[in-house]
Amino acid sequence: MSPPRRDEPVYDKLSHSIQSMRAKNQYPLVGIDFGIPLLQICVAVLAQARVYAMLRWISMALFCLKCVTAYPADPIDISIGYLQREVPPPAVLSNLDPLPEDEGLAGARLGLADNATTGRFLGHNYTLEEQIVAQDGDILAAARTMLAQSKLLLLDMPKDDLLAIADLPEAKDAVLFNVSDADNGLRRDACRANLLHTLPSRAMLADSLAQFAVWKKWPRWALVAGAREGDQAFAAALEQSATKFRLRLVERKDWTFDADMRRNAAREVPLFTQDLPDHDMLIIADEADDYARYIAYQTWQPRPVAGSSGLTPVAWSRVVEQHGAAQLQSRFAKLAERSMRSIDYAAWAAVRSVGEAVTRTATGEVTTLRDYMLGEQFELAGFKGRKLTFRTWNGQLRQPIPLVTQRAVVALAPLEGFLHQFNELDTLGVDRPESSCAAFGSQ
């Protein structure tokens, strides 16, 4: 049963009567000891009942049950698991930006610290169990062991592992968070009801860039795609976004060089781009951050570079500082001794989502938490200027997408003027009418 909306007056009245009792008992008001007899509250509620509102009061009386059980004398213990598959990073040309070893995990740890601070006032204790499985290790066995401890798991691994874990019988009533895979299929046909996504999909990232192009009136794109699987998937997402926002894709070229571009870019890139039809932006799909960085300023025509280099759509970046983000950045830097990245942000958002659900429902019961997270009342302040919520049709966390360079935020998608009948954030990625995800039912 999900709790009634907080803004209903009936709730206020009830919460008033409960809280006054708490005050008389001189307990701190939230979270500690609520040994108020169920009967007493229900009497208090029923005493105020009038015939015309009887039905409503009955539902509230049921909610009483929840209020009492929701604030047990014993504190609530919430255990969250973080399971990662070790994936060696692909070899790239540049040595400048090594991937941090604790990517993702550090975000979860910060989310835990944030939850713990709130929990301290409420008697909610949070713990994070971390486990990393080797490249050839048995991830399903690890997942089973973790699921026996906690039904709240963050998963940092490729798509196949994600789906195998989501399909485990032990995971049936779990809430799993995909924090690292941007695959569009996971939000479409391959979606799972027990799998939420806090990392933006490639479609959301590509749509953000497309909105930017429309907004700037730079409608002609030339696309360069690397050969790796992720590059091809991102390129496909970019093509779909170009169609969705009526941009013109003048040409798509595959990047096939195997030379060291640190030495050869000045000679090769002008030739490579010379035969491209006229375009406004050169979009590059290079998810491994391999060659894209060597393209800018080497092109035949002077054109801005975007996609995997230049102007980049991200979930998070060190340059995001508006909307209170500076505080999140500094908390993260203090904890991890580096800057926060997209996967860190996704892991942080997942842990914080659990924290918000526990705070508001005062339970550790996973089905209730899932219902709350997917319900209308859920909102997460995610330092991006507006509340973050989950899409009920595929479990994707709605979020603004910063379009960033190495040094600054250029724009925040959705851009001004992209309207939507329900939520402008749904102009990014898979919207309800086009969703092919069936696992979430008709929500």
């Binding site: 006054s20 005050a23 701190p28 939230v30 979270g31 709130t118 006032f121 505080q327 908390r331 508001r360």
Partner: protein, 323 residues
């Protein structure tokens, strides 16, 4: 009637220095300055260089000195309002963002945004009396008229923490919606109002029971609900109106304090943040962060009457009588 007549006189440029003798001090977060606006001419008459990232700004109860949170200097600066000179710093804890001066004029309660702490400083002995653990990113600060409670709101923990000023201990924690930014007690001392920026609401608590008694939503036509974000607000001392800055929706809502209904919305500059009244509460000055200006609202007619350019990212505002 009189107020609107005065306002129209102001519009025609008449000087009324005998009636309006005061200044509005505005902290410019991204300029490390304070802009001083003369109440009579509605012009910036002084720009004062201060510490880094000035935000919270308030005068001593007798207006003899100004207290200013210089967040990135990790200090609260005490400034002589006549000369604009920094007299000394107060120990403030790290990253002070906002503060409230207790009615005793002695205790300054400071929200240390990066440290999840509220620091209590004795402004006379310049020493730290207490540090109180609060939620993450403390920001909004309020004190009850009788001085019994100080409130700290924490942006990420989403709570109003009730600090008993006799013991300097938290006695209650009440949940509000996402990202609480500002808190105020009503003039009769019976209610506490807390704004939640991302939640888009103001939650009203009964002070005695500390129970939630109302939740006020906001709406601006043509702006998505999620972009209507209540932040700073001010109450009129007659207990009638609350003026609420709605951040990126670029409006100030006028709320009836009794019925808790929004009765009007006033268009102001971009990302309106905090505000201050003049002495007789006839004029309200709002800080508009993104447009870098201050909107002057005629409180009687609830119409904007002037926009005044100040520094970059004006944050807080405080009034000082000069006669």
């Amino acid at each position: 009637m009189l107020k609107s007549a005065l306002a129209s006189l102001l519009l025609t440029g008449a000087t009324l220095s005998h009636a309006f003798a005061g200044e509005i001090w505005v902290s410019n977060e991204k300029d490390d300055t304070i802009s001083v606006i003369d109440e009579a001419t509605l012009e910036v008459v002084r720009t004062i260089e201060v510490g880094e990232r000035p935000r919270g700004i308030t005068f001593a109860n007798d207006h003899s000195v100004l207290f200013l949170c210089a967040s990135d200097s990790d200090s609260v600066q005490v400034i002589d309002p006549e000369t604009g000179k920094v007299l000394h710093d107060l120990p403030s804890g790290e990253d002070p963002e906002q503060f409230i001066l207790h009615p005793d004029g002695k205790r300054l309660y400071i929200a240390n945004e990066d440290d999840a702490i509220t620091t209590v400083v004795d402004v006379e002995s310049r020493s730290v009396i207490a540090q109180i653990d609060v939620g993450i990113e403390p920001e909004g600060m309020a004190v009850s008229q009788d001085g019994k409670y100080v409130i700290t709101t924490s942006e990420t923990t989403n709570m109003a923490h009730w600090i008993d000023t006799a013991s300097e201990q938290i006695v209650a924690n009440t949940l509000v919606d996402q990202r609480p930014r500002h808190a105020e007690f009503t003039p009769d001392g019976k209610e506490l109002w807390v704004s939640a920026e991302i939640g888009g609401t103001i939650t009203v608590f009964d002070v005695e029971s500390k129970a939630e008694i109302a939740k006020i939503p906001f709406e601006i036509q043509g702006v998505h609900r999620d972009r209507v974000q209540p932040v700073g607000f001010e109450m009129t001392t007659d207990g009638k109106f609350v003026f609420v800055a709605l951040g990126p929706s670029n409006h100030v809502a006028v709320v009836d304090m009794k019925t808790k209904k929004v009765i009007d919305n006033v268009l102001v500059g971009r990302r309106v943040w905090h505000m201050a009244f003049n002495a007789d509460e006839s004029l309200l000055f709002t800080t508009n962060g993104l447009s870098g200006d201050v909107t002057v609202i005629d409180a009687a007619t609830q119409k904007p009457i002037k926009t005044i350019k100040v520094g970059r990212f004006p944050w807080g505002a405080a009034y000082r009588p000069t006669n």
